[in-house]
């Protein structure tokens, strides 16, 4: 199992190999192209030189080629061919041929009879095809022309005659071929032309045998090894005398049809010569071409390397850019996610906010309704207290009312009797009694008045006095000793007169309730003092209302501030008195607490902010 790094290494190696392959391929391609173009250029140049050379060679041979056709026009020529010539006519023809040959610059001009024997010639002394009396019946040029065609062949002269290009024409007497006229053209001027080619060069004839060469050792060598049949043919025509024709050395073998052969180091270029059945071959050295090609390969390889490096850089750049884009996209995504989350949270928050606001509103509404309810409750509480008080008050009013009936009856009698003084006296008493009754009703009226809580300067003694007055009938009935040392104008609290009165009535009523079952002495003690220990009480007025009743157990005390909790029998109380009292106190920033010990009585401790001007 391959692991990631291993695969990465293999991949890297593979990429390296591929890069190397690409570079070498580029180098090879460049080499090939360099070589091709070098060879092309070389070929073009060589072909130019070859053309020049070929036309120069043709210029050596061609101008003389048609000369034999003119030989038969000499009347003596036909005569010596028709019948064995006399010495005189033969001499005349020989002379004619010698002059003709000298004029055109051939090696020899001669005439053959139909048996291939030289019957007249410019050459009467030197061994050669052209020597008078020589039998050249085996020569292809003779046989060609005897058959009626133009013969053109390179040959080395018979018996040591020099090499030459033989061109022959049939000699006709009427329609009948009676002989053959030949000119032998020297090719030595070609040896002065090799410089035109500039490279090693040679000319091969139709037998693929070299007849002329810039290097003497190439002459009379076969371009490809001769077959037995070819060797026999050469023997039959004796084209190269008795020379043994060996294969050529240091020269690229060529085929018959191809025009270019190369073995990598050298290249052979071949060009036929017009109308001569010969081919010129030149050997071109490819060293310079190879050198140029190697340079091209180097350049190509270098360029490929550069390109690859650029490609690598581009790939890296792209990778970095891609990573950058990736990071940016991730950032954008997280940003979007964050924003979505924030939006969600914001939405949640605003929902909660709205909810809260709604709740606050509801709470406000509830508070208001609570406050309203509380006010109603306070009022209700008051009314309840009034109800409880009404019996006592009624009793209070009953007495003056009875007295007033009596006095009013008396005054009537007095008036009837004319005792106006006494009647006036009685009316005065009546007035006093009415005032007295008003005095009784006034606090009640105050108490019953429904009022909103308002902070005002309240004299504690006034509130205590009113409360005790309202409860005075029960106090008297129960014979409770009230110990109230609070003097008028001694303590001022920041509160509302009416509400404080209500609280005090509640507390005093509770004490009175507690004292009902208590034997004498029944005592209620009221105490007040300004300030106290610590910063909490410094601005408070502390008031305590205690009785010497039976007290209460812990369980009762714990439930004392529960609404509608009452220890009294049904109908005697709502169980709201203490609850209302605490609410009132809390409203004014005060507190209430209860200290009660079983058998030792109960003490209510109030803390109310002192009035500070």
């Amino acid at each position: 199992m391959l692991r990631g790094p291993a695969i990465a290494n293999i991949l890297k190696a593979a990429i390296g190999v591929v890069a190397l392959l690409l570079i070498s391929a580029a180098a090879m391609l460049s080499y090939h192209q360099g070589k091709e173009s070098g060879i092309r250029q070389l070929k073009t140049e060589a072909n130019h030189r070859l053309d020049l050379f070929a036309s120069a060679v043709e210029g050596v041979a061609k101008p003389l080629e048609n000369i034999p056709a003119t030989i038969q026009l000499h009347p003596d020529v036909l005569e010596i061919l028709r019948t064995p010539g006399t010495l005189r006519t033969t001499r005349a023809v020989n002379d004619y041929l010698r002059r003709l040959n000298a004029h055109v610059g051939g090696l020899a001009a001669f005439t053959l009879n139909v048996r291939g024997v030289v019957v007249a010639s410019s050459n009467t002394s030197a061994q050669d095809d052209s020597l008078l009396g020589t039998d050249v019946s085996f020569r292809p040029y003779f046989l060609d022309s005897l058959a009626g065609r133009v013969g053109k062949h390179f040959s080395i002269g018979i018996d040591g005659g020099g090499a030459g290009y033989f061109v022959s024409y049939p000699v006709r007497d009427g329609a009948v071929v009676v002989g053959v006229a030949v000119i032998k053209i020297g090719l030595h001027p070609v040896d002065q032309l090799w410089d035109l080619v500039g490279s090693p060069a040679l000319i091969a004839d139709a037998n693929q045998v070299v007849i002329l060469a810039s290097r003497p050792e190439w002459r009379y060598r076969a371009l490809s090894p001769l077959s037995v049949e070819q060797r026999v043919n050469l023997q039959l025509t004796r084209a190269y005398s008795d020379l043994e024709i060996l294969p050529i050395q240091d020269f690229l073998n060529i085929g018959a049809d191809g025009d270019v052969r190369t073995d990598g180091q050298k290249m052979t270029l071949i060009r036929p010569l017009d109308g001569m059945d010969w081919r010129v071959s030149i050997v071109l050295d490819l060293k310079q071409v190879h050198r140029t090609a190697r340079m091209a390969a180097l350049t190509g390889g270098g360029a490929a390397t550069l390109l690859l490096l650029l490609a690598l850089a581009a790939v890296q750049w792209r990778r970095i850019a891609k990573q950058r884009r990736l990071v940016r996209r991730m950032l954008e995504q997280s940003n979007v996610a964050l924003e979505i989350k924030v939006a969600e949270r914001t939405h949640d928050l605003s929902t909660i906010n709205d909810q809260l606001r709604r709740e606050v509103h509801e709470r406000n509404v509830a508070e208001q309704s609570l406050r309203a309810a509380q006010s109603e409750l306070v009022q209700a509480g008051k009314m309840a207290v009034l109800g409880q008080l009404s019996a006592g008050i009624t009793h209070e009013l009953t007495q003056p009312l009875g007295a007033m009936r009596t006095i009013a009856g008396n005054a009537e009698e007095f008036l009837l009797r004319g005792k106006s003084d006494s009647a006036i006296q009685n009316l005065k008493i009546l007035g006093r009694l009415v005032d007295q009754m008003g005095g009784i009703i006034q606090p009640l009226k105050n108490f019953a008045r429904k009022s909103e809580p308002v902070f005002q300067k309240v004299d504690l003694s006034k509130s205590l006095g009113d409360a005790l007055f309202l409860l005075s009938s029960r106090i008297r009935a129960l014979q409770v000793e009230i110990r109230n040392p609070v003097a008028k104008g001694e303590f001022f609290v920041r509160c509302e007169q009416n509400r404080l009165e209500q609280v005090l009535i509640n507390l005093l009523s509770n004490s009175l309730d507690a004292l009902e079952a208590q034997d004498s002495p029944r005592v209620i003690t009221v105490q007040a003092e300004q300030g106290g220990d610590g910063p909490c009480d410094a601005r408070m007025t502390r008031i305590s209302v205690s009785d010497n009743g039976a007290g209460m157990d812990e369980a009762t005390r714990a439930r004392l501030f529960e609404p509608f909790f009452t220890t009294k029998e049904s109908g005697a109380g709502l169980g709201l008195g203490l609850v209302i009292s605490r609410d009132i106190l809390t409203e004014f920033g005060g507190t209430i607490e209860i200290v009660s010990t079983q058998g030792r009585g109960t003490c209510f401790r109030l803390r109310i902010p002192s009035y500070e001007p």
Binding site: V114, A147, A175, V177, E229, V232, L236
Partner: protein
């Protein structure tokens, strides 16, 4: 001035010659018409192809093939309705025989020319009229009994014959390293042997027997060796000369099927013949009789 004159003359002549050459080419090969027009037939013959075609002591052309050719001319006469047809005899050599047929100097050549594929590309051949094997003529004392014995010897052969090519090819192939001497014709080649300049003479067996007939003591000379080739002779005409070939073939086949040809054969192979009246004493072989029984014009392999 003189130079310019020469040049002008040359140009004039060139035009003239090329023009006439073109005309010669186009007149081509209706030989029968030309024979009828001129009343002349040109017959090619050899000077020393004994006993086929050669000069007798009076330099008259004679021989087996020559007789056949004259019979053909008879057929030609009756065919063309030209009883007075003139015969023009043209001596040919092994070298120039085909060129002379090609250039029109010779209309028919019946001698000792082997019909093979290479030659059939240049000239037309009639129905084959003889069959030979190529062998060696050597002196009894030469110690040569077959071709392998030629190593280190001097061998004569006649120029431009099938034998020359065969011998040279054999020498190249086998590397026997014998020396080849070439005679212009069979007489000259045989002269090379009798004069001691050559040890053997390679040629068609019939011709070798014919040469042997010339010497004073023929029994000293043997024809030896396994034939290097088997060849047939035919009469040469120009290529595509179909009408002439038809007449020539017809005449030959008639002689063969009638048995007339065997009489001619007897005359030249089993009776004394010129120049010295020697009898070759070489009756027709079964192969030759088979050829006459079933004439064909196929070349030698």
């Amino acid at each position: 001035m003189a130079q310019r004159g020469w040049a002008a003359l040359c140009r004039f002549f060139v035009v003239l010659v090329l023009g006439s050459a073109g005309a010669a080419h186009s007149q081509d090969i209706d030989t029968l018409k030309r024979i009828a027009d001129t009343g002349t037939v040109r017959l090619g013959h050899r000077e020393s192809s004994i006993p086929f075609s050669y000069y007798d002591e009076k330099r008259n052309a004679v021989g087996f093939s020559h007789d056949l050719m004259l019979k053909i001319v008879d057929a030609l006469k009756s065919n063309l309705g030209l009883p007075g047809l003139t015969i023009k005899l043209v001596p040919v050599t092994p070298q120039n025989r085909m060129a002379l047929v090609q250039n029109g100097s010779v209309d028919i050549e019946c001698a000792s020319t082997t019909h093979n594929r290479e030659r059939a590309r240049q000239v037309a051949f009639s129905t084959s009229f003889f069959q030979i094997g190529t062998r060696l003529l050597t002196h009894r004392a030469s110690g040569i009994h077959d071709f392998p014995d030629l190593a280190g010897k001097r061998v004569a052969v006649t120029s431009a014959t099938t034998s020359e090519r065969l011998l040279r090819t054999y020498n190249e192939r086998s590397a026997k390293g014998f020396r080849i001497l070439v005679g212009k014709d069979h007489g000259e080649s045989f002269e090379l042997v009798t004069s001691g300049r050559a040890d053997a003479f390679m040629m068609d067996d019939a011709l070798l027997y014919g040469e042997r007939a010339k010497v004073a003591n023929p029994q000293d000379w043997d024809v030896v060796g396994t034939p290097m080739s088997s060849e047939v002779y035919g009469c040469m005409m120009r290529l595509k000369d179909h009408q002439l070939k038809q007449i020539v073939d017809g005449a030959l086949i008639k002689m063969m099927t009638s048995g007339e040809i065997l009489k001619v054969h007897q005359k030249w192979f089993q009776k004394p013949i010129p120049p010295r009246g020697l009898n070759l004493a070489w009756p027709a072989s079964p192969e030759l009789r088979a050829l006459y029984a079933h004439p064909d014009d196929q070349p030698s392999e």
